[in-house]
Symmetry: C2
Subunit: 187 residues, 2 copies
C-alpha cells in the first residue's frame, strides 16, 4: 500500500465535462490485486461558515444561502461555497466565494477541517472555514445561481440540522464544527 498516484497503473478519461471529468482507472489495491475503478475528478472547493459575533447579540448569527439545486429538485440551505479556480489556494477561494455569494468580507478566517464529500466515487475535497469580523458589501451572483440570503441564530441553525431541514453534507459538517469551535473559543 503506497497511496496516491502510485496505485494508478493506467487510466482512460471516459467523460470530459464542465465541472467534472470521469476516469476509468486501472489500479493496484492494497493486497496487490489489480482492478478497474471509475472516479469523478473534481477541482476541489471551499466552504465557509460566516459567524457574526458582534457584542450585543446573545449568540453568533450565521448567514446561510437558500439555493436552488437541480440535483435536489428544490431550494436547499447551504453555507457559502464554491469551486477552486485553477491554482487558487483554498482560503483565497473561501474569501472570494463568501464575498461573491453574501457580500461579506472577513477580517479573520480560520480553518475548521476538510472533507471528502463522497470518497467512494470522487476525489472532491471541500476545505471548511469559519469567517469572523464580517463587513457587508455588494454581492456578485453568477448566472444560473439562484440564491437567497438569510441571517439566523446559530442555535436555530443547529435545530434545523437536527430536524432534517438542512440536508447538505458540507453545511452540516461546517455548522457543527463551527459550533464546537465557537464553544471552545468562548469558554
Amino acid at each position: 500500500m503506497t497511496g496516491g498516484s502510485e496505485d494508478r497503473l493506467s487510466g482512460e478519461r471516459v467523460y470530459h465535462g464542465r465541472v467534472i471529468d470521469v476516469d476509468l482507472d486501472r489500479v493496484r489495491f492494497p493486497d496487490g490485486s489489480v482492478g478497474e475503478l471509475e472516479i469523478i475528478r473534481h477541482p476541489g472547493a471551499a466552504a465557509v461558515v460566516p459567524l457574526d459575533t458582534r457584542e450585543g447579540t446573545s449568540q453568533p448569527i450565521v448567514t446561510l444561502v437558500h439555493q436552488y439545486r437541480y440535483a435536489a429538485g428544490r431550494f436547499i440551505w447551504e453555507i457559502p461555497a464554491g469551486k477552486l479556480d485553477p491554482g487558487e489556494a483554498p482560503e483565497v477561494c473561501a474569501r472570494r466565494e463568501l464575498e461573491e455569494e453574501t457580500g461579506l468580507r472577513a477580517g479573520r478566517i480560520e480553518a475548521l477541517s476538510k472533507i471528502y464529500t463522497t470518497p467512494g466515487f470522487t476525489d472532491e475535497v471541500i476545505h471548511l472555514y469559519v469567517a469572523l469580523e464580517l463587513e457587508k458589501g455588494p454581492t456578485r451572483h453568477e448566472a444560473n445561481e439562484f440564491i437567497e440570503l438569510h441571517e439566523l441564530p446559530l442555535a436555530r441553525v443547529r435545530t434545523m440540522i437536527e430536524q432534517g431541514e438542512i440536508v447538505d453534507g458540507k453545511t452540516i459538517c461546517g455548522i457543527l464544527l463551527a459550533d464546537r469551535w465557537w464553544n471552545g473559543q468562548s469558554q
Copy 2:
C-alpha cells in the same frame, strides 16, 4: 419554481458507469431561463453509527471502519455505509451494510437525518442512522473492500474529527449528529 423532474426539459446520458451515470440535462431554472447541467446519478446510500452503550462503559463505544479509498489515495476513517440495492429501503440497507462490514446486528436503529453529499453535481443522498443494542457476528466483506475495524470511545472520535484525522463527510455528519442524539437521550 416547480421542483424535481418538472424542471427537466430533456436529457442525454453521456456516460453509463458501474456505480454512477452522468446525464447532461436541459433544465428550466427558477427564473424561467433554460440551460444545461451535468449531473451524476447515484442510487443513494445508507450509513450507520454503531453505538455500544452497554452498562459499565463510561461513554458509548463507536465501531469505525478504516477503509482504503482510491479517491483519497489512502485508508480513511468512516462509519459503515453502502449503496442501496434496487428497491431497497434505506433502513434495510443500513442494517445490511452494518452487518456485512462489521458483523454487528442492531436490536434498535434510529434515523438521524439524510444528506446530499455534494448537491452541486450529484443527486446522491445518504440516509444516516444510529444503531444500538448491538450483537457481534461474522463479517462478509466484498471483493476490493479493504477494511479494518476499530472500536473507539465516542469522545476520542469527536477529537479525531476536530483534529482533522477524520475527513469523510458522511462520517463527520453521522458522528456529530449521533453525539447530539445521544446527549439528548442520556440527559
